[in-house]
Structure formats: structure tokens, C-alpha cells
């Protein structure tokens, strides 16, 4: 391969003070190194000693003929999503639900629609023609099991089609589990379908957020069903786990340990502490659900410290948000999490097939009152839909170099144009005012503090990155 460079070049970099006399320096390609003040001054004044120069070359911040190949390979590995065609295909098979959660992003209180079989098969056709060697079909809602006929059809047909396509095909249902019975569980297991549900924490927290249409708490049902599925897998020797997600509202902020204990007690391998979003039904009671970026970060930090305590006692659990960041900074791998992609994965790594045949560039896109993030229909050619300028402009607006050029952590994070639009009234981001990225920066800084201490916690974090989450 022809060498690109004639003389060593310092790649554009940013830095941040992590702790006393420790700075993290990050390059525009996502590599990083810890420097002390003296070393940073050498870099800033372009007067590098041999030792500092070597540190920069080893880190991939000083580009030379010797590390050019490594820098390219690291970039490809950290940003694998850029080289995959749409891999996550969500099917919104109904906007009706058996629950009335107070933050429901899907806005099911107005729901009355079901995807029909014809639309479902057209969406499936789209999946197989647009995806690369990896594809995930994820059933969303509403409560997807309300449209079991279509869910079943898509699962059967996709496995059949994949006999000729040979993709690595994952199928997943996102369900509140209220309608899951033995027959459905047998079917899902037979077709190797994963199950994902929501558990917001302790009984009080969960029941204050997630209620039935009659206003009853759903904690007992959720816990009961999770344990039932886990027992079923265990008894039948099935190597699967139930994936469980937590949506964090104001009600949860005082009890990070309680939430972690709840997940650890169920034997779950990770907890994903995701801040509530102001979409759908959440808008109605937003002031009672919302919190500041600082409040969320403090909650998350306490949860992280507690998780490390549990890890040290041999309890195997990790936090998904931290895992996503650690994968990139420690393992130089891409966790393929849509919201942390740069540019965001909406409309390129992930698509939402709606019950009415519209294709949205993201799950969140269908949650707005107007279909401004609809990019095509299942009747169109996939490449026509994906190259639709409205789609491309949508995700291009999230390029971090355009709006977060100031941040040393922008290479590993992302911003979501739907959230930006919802919060700021335009897809052109005002990133310093965008709470999810403010939280992300604080999380990155915290993880670098952990790594810089070189203690037990840093070792544990490194160990997390060796685990595979889906």
C-alpha cells in the first residue's frame, strides 16, 4: 500500500484536565493519551522531547509512516457502524398497548392501529434488500404482542428467507411481557428470538412509572414474567438471557443502589440507566419526570461506584452506557449503539418500519406528531429511501465535527437530530445546550478519572469491554 505521509504530523487534538496534573489528550481519529502538564506544554508549543514524541506515536496522535496502518485500523474498528448497511430494523407493529406508562415515548394513549400482513412482508423484503451481512429485526410498539399474528409471520418468514441470504440475523421482541404465555414463549424460543423488557427499578419506582390501562402497578407482573422466562431457559438448557432496560425519571434519582440491587438480584448481567426523553406521552407530565444533566450524572456516578463495589465482591453486572464508552476508549471497538454513533445511526444503521408502511429514520422519529422524519415507504426501492436527501440531511446534521468540535470526547459520542428537533425546534444542534451530550461528556470524564487512577475499578472497566452485549 502506498504511504500517505512524508513527514510526521500531529493530528488535530483536544484535551481536558482529568485530575491533578493529568490531562487526557484526544485526537480527531479517536485515539487518546494521558499527559502531565509538562508533556502537554511540549505538545502545545510543538517542541516535543523524544519521550513525548514516542508517547504520541504509540497513542496514534502523531501520525507517522510507522503507525499509519494502525490508526486506520483503529478508526475502522471504533467506527464499524460506518461500514455496515442498515442493520437494526425496528417493526412498529402496533401503537396500542396494555399499559399506560407515564413517560411512554410512543404515545400509546392515542393508539388504535395495527400493521397488516402485507405491509409486514413488504417491510421484510426491505430488510433483506437493504441490510448487509448483519441484521437485527426488533419488534416494537405499543405492545407488540397485541399483533401476535404479524409478529409470528415476520419471524417465520425471516428465518425462511435467511436460509438463502445467510445473514447473521438476530430477532428480538421489546415487550412489557403482560401477554406472554407458554405458547408464545415456546414459539419465540424455537425461532431463537430474544426478549427485552422494561424494569425501572424498585417496586415503588417501577409502579409510579408503569401502570396498566386501569391504573394498577405492573411491578409484580414484570418481575414474575422475567423470572418465569429465566427459569424456562435454565430448565431447557437454553443459553439466552432476558434483556432489561430502565428508564430513569425523577422518581428514581434518590435510589441508584436500589435499582442496581434489583437488577443484580435477578441475575442480570447489565443495567442500562437511560434518562427519560420528552417524547410522546412524557410531554404531558414532563415537569414531574425531568431532571438536570447534573442531577442525572450524580445519580449515574453513584450507581457506577456501587456497581464496581458489587463487581469486587464477585457479582457480575455492568452499566450499559459506561460499557458503550469503555468499548471505544479501552478496546477500540464499536458497541454499535445508534445514539453514540458519529454521525448518528438513524437512517443509515437503523430504520423504523411503521404499521402504516412508512419508514422512519429512527424509532424516535415516529414519536413526533408530524412525520417529518419519515423518509420513504416499504413500497420504495431501499436505496431510493436511504439516499433520500431528507434522510441524509437528517443524519448529516449530527456530524460531531460540526457542532461539538470543542469537545475532547466528541469522537465517541453522538447527538440525535430527533431529540435536537424536539428540544431546540431545529435539526441544527446547539450542542452545549443538549443535555444528553452534556451528560455524555461528564460520563467520559468520569471514566477517564477511573482509568487514570489505575486501580481495581480501571481493571474492572477493562474487563467489561471483553464482554459482548448483543
Amino acid at each position: 500500500m502506498q504511504q500517505l505521509i512524508q513527514k510526521p504530523i500531529v493530528l488535530p487534538y483536544r484535551y481536558d484536565l482529568i485530575s491533578n496534573n493529568i490531562y487526557v489528550v484526544t485526537s480527531s481519529f479517536g485515539n487518546w493519551v494521558f499527559f502531565n502538564k509538562e508533556e502537554l506544554d511540549e505538545l502545545k508549543s510543538n517542541a516535543l522531547s523524544k519521550a513525548t514524541e514516542k508517547k504520541l506515536i504509540d497513542a496514534g496522535i502523531l501520525l507517522t509512516t510507522s503507525n499509519e496502518k494502525d490508526i486506520i485500523e483503529d478508526y475502522q474498528s471504533m467506527n464499524r457502524n460506518l461500514f455496515l448497511r442498515p442493520s437494526l430494523h425496528m417493526f412498529n407493529v402496533t401503537n396500542m398497548c396494555t399499559y399506560r406508562c407515564n413517560y411512554c415515548h410512543a404515545g400509546v394513549s392515542q393508539g388504535k392501529d395495527m400493521m397488516d400482513e402485507k405491509t409486514a412482508l413488504k417491510a421484510l423484503r426491505f430488510v433483506f434488500l437493504s441490510s448487509g451481512p448483519y441484521a437485527t429485526i426488533e419488534f416494537q410498539g405499543g405492545e407488540c404482542l397485541l399483533n401476535w399474528k404479524v409478529v409470528k409471520l415476520v419471524i417465520e418468514k425471516s428465518r425462511e428467507l435467511n436460509k438463502t441470504f445467510g445473514k447473521t440475523l438476530n430477532i428480538c421482541i421489546v415487550s412489557n411481557l403482560s401477554l406472554l404465555d407458554q405458547e408464545k414463549l415456546d414459539f419465540l424460543t424455537k425461532y431463537d428470538v430474544s426478549i427485552c423488557t422494561s424494569l425501572d427499578g424498585t417496586e415503588a419506582i417501577h409502579d409510579s412509572n408503569r401502570k396498566t390501562t386501569a391504573g394498577k402497578g405492573t411491578y409484580e407482573t414484570t418481575i414474575g414474567k422475567i423470572k418465569w422466562i429465566q427459569d424456562y431457559y435454565k430448565k431447557n438448557g437454553i443459553n439466552k438471557r432476558v434483556d432489561v432496560l430502565a428508564t430513569i425519571t425523577k422518581a428514581a434519582l434518590d435510589n441508584p443502589k436500589g435499582i442496581v440491587d434489583m437488577y443484580a438480584g435477578l441475575g442480570l448481567k447489565y443495567v442500562h440507566l437511560r434518562p427519560v426523553q420528552n417524547l410522546g406521552d412524557a410531554l404531558r407530565g414532563w415537569s414531574s419526570l425531568a431532571f438536570s444533566a447534573g442531577q442525572f450524572f450524580n445519580f449515574w456516578k453513584e450507581a457506577m461506584e456501587y456497581i464496581f463495589e458489587l463487581n469486587a465482591k464477585g457479582i457480575d453486572i455492568m452499566e450499559r452506557g459506561a460499557y458503550n464508552i469503555a468499548c471505544r476508549i479501552l478496546a477500540k471497538s464499536d458497541p454499535l449503539y445508534v445514539e453514540n454513533m458519529n454521525p448518528v445511526g438513524m437512517g443509515r444503521a437503523a430504520l423504523l418500519h411503521n404499521f402504516d408502511g412508512l419508514i422512519y429514520s429512527s424509532d424516535e422519529g415516529r414519536m413526533l406528531p408530524e412525520p417529518i422524519f419519515a423518509i420513504g415507504t416499504v413500497d420504495q426501492d431501499p436505496y431510493q429511501v436511504l439516499s433520500n436527501p431528507d434522510n441524509v440531511n437528517g443524519w448529516a446534521a449530527s456530524l460531531m465535527d460540526l457542532s461539538a468540535y470543542y469537545s475532547p470526547y466528541s469522537h465517541w459520542g453522538g447527538i440525535h437530530p430527533v431529540h435536537i428537533y424536539q428540544n431546540q425546534g431545529t435539526v441544527i444542534p446547539k450542542t452545549p445546550l443538549y443535555d444528553p451530550f452534556v451528560i455524555f461528556e461528564k460520563q467520559c470524564r468520569h471514566l477517564f478519572e477511573v482509568i487514570a487512577k489505575k486501580g481495581k475499578e480501571a481493571e474492572l472497566l477493562k474487563k467489561w469491554t471483553k464482554e459482548a452485549i448483543r
Binding site: 483536544r14 499509519e68 475502522q76 460506518l82 448497511r85 448487509g132 428467507l161 468540535y405 452545549p432
Partner: protein, 126 residues
């Protein structure tokens, strides 16, 4: 003119010499602090740029003025590096990004899609 700052009625006035500081870099620097300040730009891009910075919360304006100039230097340097190394950075990115090409459908795959199309057509007749 000389770049400097003044504090007046709980607002910060920044005077910047456009022969030293690039207007685009000044915009890029102010943008970083929009969570803390409202910025009003004025003056003449050929002679003197004036920024009125109105804090959203009570702030030490003198300390912020120094921070603004420090960040302006950092941002200017960052974009200078980006500009200076633009060609090589683009070349490295191109090499990283365009090394994978999609594969077309084979005959068997085309057949299975045709079969699915037929089933979709049949559903349309119901």
C-alpha cells in the same frame, strides 16, 4: 486597535482585533459558551469586533473574559491544525472509509425475493 475586555452593568464587553482573530473562530468560541451566556455581536469585521456577553446566571465576568481569550486561542489553533493537515486527514479517512464494497444478490437470493413478492401479491388479492 487592541483586544481587551470591560465589565459594564453586569455584562461583559469583549473588543477583538479582526486582524489578529478570525471572525469565524470568534463565532466558534462563543458557541461553546451558549449554555452560560447570551452573545450579541456588533462592530466592524474590518476594524473592531465587539461582543456583548450577557450571563444567564451570576458569573465572575473577569475570569470568564480570560477563559474566553484562552478558548479562542485553543479553537484557533485547532482549526489551524485542521486546515494545515486537511489533505492528509482526508486521505487517511478516505482510505479508512472506502475499503468495503457491497455485494449484489446471487441467483438463489433473487429467487427467494421473487417468491416473497408473489406472496405479497397474493395477500393483495384477499
Amino acid at each position: 486597535m487592541q483586544s481587551r475586555f470591560e465589565i459594564e452593568n453586569d455584562e461583559l464587553l469583549l473588543y477583538l482585533n479582526p486582524r489578529v482573530y478570525n471572525l469565524e473562530r470568534i463565532y466558534a468560541t462563543a458557541y461553546i459558551f451558549i449554555d452560560r451566556f447570551y452573545f450579541i455581536f456588533d462592530g466592524d469585521p474590518n476594524t473592531e469586533i465587539l461582543i456583548r456577553a450577557i450571563p444567564k446566571k451570576k458569573t465572575d465576568l473577569g475570569a470568564f473574559a480570560k477563559l474566553f481569550f484562552e478558548e479562542l486561542l485553543s479553537i484557533s489553533n485547532y482549526f489551524l491544525m485542521l486546515e494545515k493537515n486537511k489533505d492528509i486527514v482526508t486521505a487517511v479517512l478516505k482510505r479508512a472509509l472506502f475499503s468495503i464494497t457491497p455485494t449484489p444478490l446471487n441467483q438463489e437470493q433473487e429467487e427467494s425475493i421473487k417468491k416473497l413478492d408473489k406472496e405479497i401479491e397474493e395477500l393483495g388479492k384477499i
